[in-house]
């Protein structure tokens, strides 16, 4: 059968096959470009996700620190409330003691020392001085009234001492309360700083997360495009297979013709190489290769 005729007959099909192959290569190129874009998008997405993980861990740490400080603040506030309660009770004590002291001072109508002098003077008068019974009775009554007043004055002094010492305790308590308040304020500032930093990190995280999502969306779109192009390649490959099936008889014939030609060409070259050997001429590496292939071929045939 005529090789050229066969080739002519199947030319439209082989041309179509060539065209399909060209398109496959072209589409392959596009797919490569898209894959490069997809790789870039995936890297950006993963980079963003990793950064989000890291930011989340940092934010969690800051939040834990903030919560720990807030707990400390709560404890300090509890202590301060206890001190305030104690302070309030002490203020009430002072008020009551002052009231009692003032009542006693009113009852005493004199200081401890002046009343004591008066008392002792009157006792001395009473037990030593010669006086009428009438005066004795008056003085006798007066002595015990003065003694009651003296006791009131002493008690008033005790209440006054209590007021003074309670004031002192109250001052110490107020100092402690102020100290606690300062600590609370300092911790609150620290907690606020951690809180603001946490917010900042979460804002950053949300921004980057949003960007990662966008990259991911773009990546999905790229995958869709790639898949569509792959479908196109498959379609063309299927078409090539279809055409090859159609022209299979002709291509087999052409293969046979080509093989025959190759065989003859090999035999010719081997013959020339043998002649060179016979004539003890120099043979090339190709010549040796041809001889070897020829021997091999003959063995398999």
């Amino acid at each position: 059968m005529d090789e050229d005729k066969i080739k002519q007959d199947i030319k439209p099909q082989t041309d179509e096959i060539s065209e399909c192959k060209k398109e496959i290569v072209k589409i392959g190129g596009e797919i490569k470009k898209l894959q490069k874009d997809a790789d870039h998008l995936r890297d950006k997405r993963d980079e963003g996700n990793n950064e989000c993980k890291s930011l989340a861990a940092d934010a969690r740490q800051l939040r834990d620190k903030r919560d720990s400080i807030n707990q400390k603040i709560a404890e300090l506030k509890k202590q301060r409330d206890q001190l305030n309660k104690k302070s309030s009770d002490m203020s009430d004590d002072i008020k009551n003691s002052k009231q009692k002291r003032d009542e006693l001072n009113e009852e005493a109508r004199g200081t401890d020392s002046t009343l004591k002098k008066l008392y002792e003077k009157n006792i001395d008068k009473l037990v030593n001085r010669d006086m009428p019974l009438r005066d004795e009775k008056k003085l006798f009554k007066s002595v015990f009234e003065i003694r009651n007043r003296l006791e009131a004055a002493k008690l008033a002094d005790e209440f006054h001492e209590k007021v003074v010492s309670t004031y002192k305790e109250l001052k110490e308590l107020d100092d402690k309360t102020d100290e606690l308040t300062a600590q609370i304020r300092s911790h609150a500032n620290e907690a606020e700083e951690y809180h603001l930093k946490t917010i900042e990190l979460y804002d950053q995280l949300h921004k980057i997360s949003k960007e990662s999502d966008e990259y991911h969306e773009e990546l999905i779109k790229k995958y869709d495009e790639i898949n569509k192009l792959r479908d196109q390649i498959k379609a063309r490959k299927d078409r090539i297979t279809e055409i090859e099936q159609t022209i299979k008889p002709q291509t087999e014939i052409l293969d046979g013709i080509r093989q025959e030609k190759e065989k003859k060409d090999l035999e010719e070259k081997a013959k020339k190489a043998r002649e060179k050997l016979k004539e003890q001429k120099r043979v090339s590496f190709n010549d040796l290769r041809v001889l070897f292939e020829q021997d091999k071929k003959e063995q398999t045939d």
């Binding site: 037990v127 030593n128 010669d130 019974l133 004795e136």
Partner: protein, 107 residues
């Protein structure tokens, strides 16, 4: 100061009245003795001056000594005997009053 209970004060008052009663009584006796000694002194002085008797000198000296001692220790020398008696009676009444008061306390 706190040792002075009502009872103790009343007891002290009773003691005071006892003391004063005694003192005024002693004073009354002393005044009587004083009067006698003064008269004795006058008489002795007269005898010593008039009769120049040495035997009365020693007695005069002794009398003067006793007189001085008595005058030094005498209380209420400006009071007349009737006034002294009155004082003694007042203190006896006062002592009675306080004694009854003490009995009421103990009762």
């Amino acid at each position: 100061m706190d040792e002075w209970t009502e009872k103790k004060l009343i007891e002290a008052l009773i003691e005071k009245h006892d003391r004063l009663i005694q003192e005024y009584s002693d004073s009354m006796e002393s005044q009587k003795r004083l009067s006698i000694l003064r008269e004795k002194k006058d008489q002795l002085e007269y005898w010593v001056d008039e009769e120049a008797e040495d035997k009365y000198k020693k007695e005069l000296i002794d009398t003067q000594k006793e007189l001085e001692t008595l005058e030094e220790n005498l209380i209420a020398t400006d009071l007349r005997p009737s006034e002294l008696k009155s004082r003694i009676d007042e203190h006896v009444s006062a002592k009675k009053y306080w004694t009854q008061k003490l009995q009421q306390q103990d009762g």
